[in-house]
């Protein structure tokens, strides 16, 4: 499943390109909204970074099940024999991979445009990005499957997703801030534990309830 999605994505590059340019546009908007003051920008940088990740993630995840609908594959998904949680994991892996690629490129753009020096913070940053993105993708995949069949889905999907993601957003921003200030990860260990707990909770709910979503 993940393989199929990634293959489609690699062939078309449709979502990836759009998401990248969306993120670039967001970068510009952030810059113009905040003005040229470097100090102020540095203070809000972790928040901006995660806002960008989550907004582009919302767009990307929202598409993941629409593709099936547009191409009339929804019934095929429903009729797939065996455990539906395999579909969930496949969709999740596909979205996760796409989001991580976008995030890596956005991070590079942040470094370029806002002149941040990541240097030694990079391994920690990679850890928190993977943990945070996994959480976003785990609930996001579940909710995207729900809203794919609903009216006003473009509107409803972020309305459902954003409040649920508050803990993930808080955790990732706190850890990123500490990393950019060159603090050790030990000081934010409780936030990392929270992120792991969130990932476990969301994944478990997703695996257990995906059957129910795909019933019809």
């Amino acid at each position: 499943m993940a393989w199929k999605d990634l293959l489609v994505e690699r062939r078309s590059k449709e979502t990836l390109n759009a998401l990248l340019f969306f993120s670039l546009a967001l970068l510009f908007v952030f810059q113009f909204a905040l003005g040229p003051d470097r100090e102020r920008l540095a203070a809000v940088l972790p928040g901006l970074l995660w806002l960008g990740f989550i907004l582009s993630g919302v767009l990307g995840l929202g598409r993941s099940f629409l593709v099936e609908r547009e191409n009339d594959c929804w019934e095929g998904l429903l009729l797939t024999p065996g455990d539906k949680s395999a579909i969930y994991l496949g969709k999740l892996a596909g979205s996760l991979a796409l989001m991580l690629v976008v995030e890596a490129l956005v991070l590079a753009l942040f470094v370029l445009f806002f002149n941040v020096d990541l240097g030694p913070a990079l391994p920690g940053l990679a850890l928190v990005i993977v943990l945070g993105t996994l959480g976003v993708a785990a609930v996001g995949t579940l909710f995207a499957a729900m809203t794919a069949q609903v009216r006003a889905r473009e509107l409803l999907f972020p309305v459902l997703l954003l409040p649920v993601l508050v803990p993930v957003l808080l955790g990732t921003v706190q850890v990123t801030e500490a990393l950019l200030l060159r603090e050790s990860l030990a000081g934010v260990a409780h936030w990392l534990k929270l992120l792991v707990a969130a990932d476990v909770v969301y994944l478990t709910i997703g695996l257990l309830t995906f059957d129910v979503i795909l019933e019809g």
């Binding site: 009216r151 309305v159 649920v164 508050v166 803990p167």
Partner: protein
């Protein structure tokens, strides 16, 4: 049963007013403003109680697929959202004279606000799906996500606020509450719980009637 609950709630609310305004003493530092606590605090208790009932109903629906369980879940989550709204509104009214502001991003206020928004989203999802059976399934999953997310929200928001600044929240009467205040709180809690139960039974019946009319 519903009518009986309604009358019990009415009697309870009358008793709650007597307790809140008559029996409970005037608070020394805040004066009469503090009496809003007898609505503010029980409202949040009843709201979380209703959410617990709602999630239990959702799980029961997913397990047994009885429409009654779904109607209970729907009604309870809706009533819980209303009571949480009452809690936030009375909190703002209380906050203005005592803290000098309607709203502050304090840990408790923030986590309650996030829970409120999650359950408003639940109601929006229900509204957006026409097929009753599908709405029931999706909403049940969403309420389980929301419920399990509450502890995560709680911890994250608590750390977020308290690691940066010590809690500046005045907590009137929390240390040594006179027994009259405790009694007034409990009477009002019982009254609001009865009122909430009354609303849930009425709402569930209304949902059943709606389904019958649309079927």
């Amino acid at each position: 049963m519903s009518t009986a609950l309604g009358w019990l709630a009415a009697v309870g609310l009358a008793a709650g007013l007597v307790m809140g305004f008559g029996v409970a003493p005037r608070e020394v530092t805040q004066g009469n403003v503090q009496r809003i606590m007898y609505l503010h605090v029980p409202a949040v208790w009843v709201a979380y109680l209703a959410f617990a009932v709602g999630v239990a109903g959702s799980i029961a629906y997913l397990a047994g697929r009885r429409p009654g369980a779904d109607r209970l879940a729907h009604a309870a989550c809706e009533v819980g959202t209303v009571f949480l709204g009452v809690n936030i509104a009375t909190g703002a009214i209380w906050g203005k004279p005592t803290w000098g502001t309607w709203w502050t991003w304090d840990a408790r206020l923030t986590s309650v606000a996030v829970v409120f928004v999650m359950f408003v989203a639940y109601l929006l999802l229900r509204q957006a799906i026409e097929d009753r059976e599908r709405a029931a399934r999706y909403a049940a999953v969403l309420s389980i996500v929301a419920a399990l997310n509450i502890p995560l929200v709680h911890f994250s928001v608590y750390w977020w606020r308290t690691l940066h600044q010590p809690p500046s929240l005045l907590k009137p009467g929390s240390s040594t509450m006179p027994p009259e205040i405790v009694a007034a709180l409990l009477v009002n809690f019982a009254a609001l719980a009865l009122l909430g139960a009354y609303f849930v039974t009425r709402r569930a019946r209304l949902l059943a009637a709606e389904e019958e009319a649309l079927a």
